[in-house]
């Protein structure tokens, strides 16, 4: 079991974390992409995940509410960018408008690599700087996020509607 963090190897603010699991790749893929499994492990011991909804496709929203042991709830909304079963999952966290200061947003890629009987899980988190945001908006990325956010807004409205119907 390994866990490597590297914040200085790149010119961009990046964190790399790797972990080897004693499990076949298909099972690891299932555990990181099926909400009923993600809700079990996300956040670690003592944390619960009252909401975990994953629209597993590029442009799809991952809407997540994590509850800390002290009861504090954190809403994390992301957009999937790449979904290549069973080897690569890429998602971008969206800025939380309700938190000030909001945590930095990041582009996260998880790759799963077969290593004998083990599966290597590797996360690369690229953190946004203002320069990246400027660049990404020039490249049309902001538009894509916009589409995702609209879909999310519609989704939240329907959830709200369902609640009101209760």
């Amino acid at each position: 079991m390994t866990n490597i963090i590297d914040v200085s190897a790149s010119d961009r603010p990046v964190i790399v974390i790797t972990r080897d699991f004693d499990a076949p790749r298909d099972l690891v893929w299932e555990a990181i992409t099926d909400p009923k499994h993600v809700a079990v492990w996300y956040g670690g011991p003592g944390f619960t995940n009252p909401v975990c909804e994953m629209d597993l496709r590029p442009g799809g929203i991952w809407y997540h509410v994590m509850q800390a042991p002290n009861g504090a709830r954190y809403t994390i909304t992301s957009v999937f960018e790449e979904v290549v079963a069973p080897e690569r999952l890429v998602w971008r966290t969206l800025r939380d408008p309700d938190r000030n200061p909001a945590p930095p947003t990041s582009l996260n890629s998880v790759t799963l690599e077969v290593r004998g009987r083990q599966t290597r899980w590797k996360l690369v988190s690229l953190f946004d700087s203002i320069a990246d945001r400027d660049l990404s908006s020039k490249m049309g990325f902001a538009h894509m996020i916009g589409l995702g956010a609209d879909r999310m807004a519609a989704h939240l409205a329907s959830v709200q509607g369902a609640k009101n119907d209760d």
């Binding site: 964190i15 492990w41 200061p101 946004d128 320069a131």
Partner: protein, 143 residues
Amino acid sequence: MREPRIADIVLNHIVNNLLVKYVTNDRLSPVFFALADPTRRGILGRLATGDATVNELAEPYDMSVAAISKHLKLLEAAGLVSHSRQSQWRPRHLEAARLREVVDWLEQYRRFWDRSLDRLSEHLQTLQQRAQRKKRGQKGRAP
């Protein structure tokens, strides 16, 4: 007087554009941006050993003093470096507490994944044991 290099001109442009665009309530983004460059990390490393003037900071680099000044402006905008107004030579000072904030945040992020992956590892074991038992159970029931 040295001819300004293309790199200096580009850096000048970036600094001038970015300084006005900094969002004041977003405390970490400017710091992440400031840390994303090897020269700026080098400057911070030098300042960690003690205060230094712009000329002293420029010494190890194949860069104009003006270019180093631009890097310093970014570091100052991010709150990582400060200087006293009184002194003529204005030695730069590392704001270690500000850097600490970022390191703390990264540490928190790392811990989050550490805990999550521990739990994921356990969960994968449980899933595999469950599958094994199911398999054995089916074999046992087979005629």
